[in-house]
Structures are given as C-alpha cells and as structure tokens.
Symmetry: C3
Subunit: 201 residues, 3 copies
Amino acid sequence: METLNGVAELNGNGRPKEKLNGLPPQVLVEAPRAARREASITELSGLQPVVARRAIHIATERLFHVTDVTEDCQELVAESGVKEGMLSVFSQHTTCAIKINERETCFLEDLRLFMEALVPQEAYYRHDDFEIRDHATLAGTVEEEPINGHAHIKQMLLGSASESVPVADGTLRLGTWQRIMFIELDQARNRKVQLQVQGWR
Amino acid sequence: METLNGVAELNGNGRPKEKLNGLPPQVLVEAPRAARREASITELSGLQPVVARRAIHIATERLFHVTDVTEDCQELVAESGVKEGMLSVFSQHTTCAIKINERETCFLEDLRLFMEALVPQEAYYRHDDFEIRDHATLAGTVEEEPINGHAHIKQMLLGSASESVPVADGTLRLGTWQRIMFIELDQARNRKVQLQVQGWR
Amino acid sequence: METLNGVAELNGNGRPKEKLNGLPPQVLVEAPRAARREASITELSGLQPVVARRAIHIATERLFHVTDVTEDCQELVAESGVKEGMLSVFSQHTTCAIKINERETCFLEDLRLFMEALVPQEAYYRHDDFEIRDHATLAGTVEEEPINGHAHIKQMLLGSASESVPVADGTLRLGTWQRIMFIELDQARNRKVQLQVQGWR
C-alpha cells in the first residue's frame, strides 16, 4: 500500500500518539437538547396519486459548467399539481454531479480549484491508459473514448446520482440559499437531467 | 490549471507509468457470486396513504456539533403508523450534512481532524473575499455575512441534502451501528432538521 | 486547529491573494439556456400500489471488493411489476458505500489508489485507539473490534447509505454506463444489500 509524501500527515499519521491522547475531542456528539419540535400527520386518501417528469437537455461547455435547474424543478411541481410528495433529480451520467448548495460564483470557483488540486485533470489514471485498459469497456475506438479518469473520481467524491427534496403543501421545501445544480465534471458534452415528482394532488 | 506540491502525487501522478502497468489491480469487481437472496412483494391497496412530518429546531454550538436524530426518526415512524414506506431526513442548510454512520466520539473526532486538514477553516476562499465577491449575493451587510467558505466545500464533500431509510413492517430498517446524524460544518447557528415519513398504514 | 504541511496549499492557501483576485473565475454558473425539454404527467389512480424487496447476502473478500448489483435491481423491478415508482438501494453498514458509476476495473483501481492515499489504512485513528476510546462503544471485546477507522472516514467521503433510481414505464432509468455497485471499504465481512422498489403496477 502506498503512503505518499505530503498526504501521509492527514489524520495525524506521523504525529506522536501521546500528543493526540492528551487532547480532548473537540467534536460535540449528542441527542437534540431541549429542542423545539413541530409535527403533522396528513392523510392522503382523498387525493389522487400522480407522477410528473421533465427531462432537460443541456449542452455543457466545459469542466465545471454549473447549471441551476431550481426553476425547472419548481415549475414541474406547480404543473404536476402535487400537494404532498417528493422531487427526485437524477443524472444518467457517470461524470456529472447533482448537488444542492448556494449558487454563488466565488464559492463554486473555490470548489473548482479545490477539486482540481485534489484530483488533477492531468494526473495519471489507469482509466485513461489504453495500454492496460480492457478495450471491451471502451465506448467506441480509443480515439472516441473521453480522457476522463479524473472526472469519474470527482463524481465519486462529490455526488450521488440523485438528490431528493420534499414537496409539502404544494411547495418544494428548499431552504433560502439552496439551489439544485447540475455540475459538469468532464469536458463539454451533451447531457440530460431528469426531474421526477411523485406524490398526491 | 494549478498542480500543487504535495497533492500532485495522489493518483500516482509523477510515478513512472511502467511501474503502475506492472501491478495487477487489487480491486475486485464482480456480480454477486452464489449469494443467498430473500425476497418479498407486498400489495398496499388495503392500506391508507399518509405523510407525517417533524421539524427539529437545533441551536448548534460550534463547528462539528453532531446531533443524533435517530430517536426522533423512530418516534415519527411509530406516530405515523406507517407500515411500508420511506423516511427522508432533509437539511435546508448549505453548510450542514445529514450522514448515517456510527455514533462514536473518537471516529467523529477523526473525521473532524481529517476534514480540517483537508479543507482548513483559515485557508483562502474567494467566497469570503468581499473585494471580489458580488455583494448582491450577500445575506445582508458584509459584517452579517458568515465567513464560511470552508463549510460550503465540506458540505459538498461530505453530504447530500438528504438521506433516505426504508420503513418495512412498521420499523425503520437501520443497521445495528447506523445512527442518523446532523453535522454542523459552520459555526454556532440556529438550524432545522426536517423529517418526513411517506407510506402506507 | 492543525494546518499540515503539504495539504495547506489546497484552496490557494499560501498563494498571494492578489494573484487570485486577478484571475476571472473559470467556473460557469447559469440557468439552462435554450434547453430542449420533454415533459409528461401520468395519473396513477388506475394502478395498484406495491412494495417489493430483495436482500442480497454477500461475503466480501477484501477492501475494495466491488459487487455489481445492477442485474438484481433490474430483476426486482421486473418481478414487482412496478410501472412507475422508485428503486432504493440501501446498505445497513457503516463501512460500505452504495455508488452508481461505470463498472470499469481500471477506474475502480484508480479510485482504490486515490482513497488509500487520501485516507491511508495504516494512519493513526482515534477510533482504533483502545487506550482512549470508550469501551462501551465496542461491538464485543477489544480483540473482536475491527480496526477500521480509515473505513469509516472513507464511507463518509464516498457514500450515502442509499442511492435512488427512478422506474418509468416498467424500466429502471439508468444511463448507458451506470451500474449500481456495493463497495466494501473495510476488510472481508458478511454484508447485506437491501433493494426496495415502491410504486404502482
């Protein structure tokens, strides 16, 4: 197993155990204390079940092209008439991520710089090494196959294939700063984002 | 594109390609072999559809304040009467994570130290640089805006906005060591965790 | 708070602020432009609600044993008869990940090497230090407790406990290259993957 310089110090590796033992944990772990709670139970048997879908075709322009699909999601919830249910946003791609966070260019540029430093595009990846890779796994010829080993690793770190958001009383329950974003982690490509609202109206 | 010292060696970058070619992959990739399987199909048409919600208001005290909301989730499933369905735990915040893992203070302190080393709080983030950031994106004045560029990156690495757990035969199907935790990645703030059980009773 | 050599340079820490200020962001953030959209709304009230489950018992052989459960998922959708709904793949374990990506050995070996460099198995973890850990949290005796601090961190970075995939018109809506994979992040262990399809048939 490889231990690489400059990374080995993460986790306190290489620091004396005694020193760590002497420090109390700073993490605070507990059940909710004296928390205020609000609750509701809603019977749905007077409502009709429905599923509504929208696919958005996007031609991304480059690595870290971020597409904000929040308004599409809100429109779909409104069109569907769903009062109580769940929105699912799904990506059928292996080198893109669906993420919910703030739409703020400086933060997203921080994220881009961070991810490029952690998983550099021009590092060596076996996935891009056609001398060792099984050619049966290629999409077509070696020339057609994208050089995107870095993008697969970025997808594994950043994303799941989908995000889910509750719909309550006809409204998508996003927080003030939350936006639903589709992030291209590979090069310019034709992509499709799949929205699905399932619930009761 | 920046390649930074000490990070560039990740992924085998800088190591001779020949050496990597000579090593067989240690990863084992396959379909399930001779696996035992259990299956069931349950018709729900004799049951009534219902959605139950609980919001928990939490005043977090600091970075890496971890709140274990598992008992709230179990109580909500019991109160809802749902026999078959899905629990969703959702955070409306952009600098918190919902995670399911072991509630063990030493592990969570390992995680805190690891995340602080990987995404240091006091590094430079454009998100916190009010000389370059678009002031239209601020929550209020520059003074009111939290300095939390690190927390947004941590959220992107650690979390999705939600986690889902199946409910079967009236029971939340968590594993022995799994606890549902809400993790503060920013400073002390007022937070809200949203639980939703949707299913049939 | 620790700032460790070799990691501190991530995020541009240590680089002059002026230089960063001079660079325009390369990230591109926008709403979908001139995107083609397809939409549908399907009433479900003529259909019957159903939930189908399958548990797959897997004896993993080592760290980064990857089990492709896609065919099990497709079989369950077919057996359930569900036309419109959602598949959920859930892991009851705290040191495994459910991920959807390409089943390609070279990429998965890249991921293994990357994760081992980032979260080395033999680094120091408080979770494995039985001199400081609360013995009440152990599964049994100190000898029985797995040494797996690294695996918990890897789980937190890579995975959520579950992945969800839409089922539309009786078909699991995976992309061409997407496979649903269960990844062992600890040592050889007995594991169980839980599949659940909930929907209408």
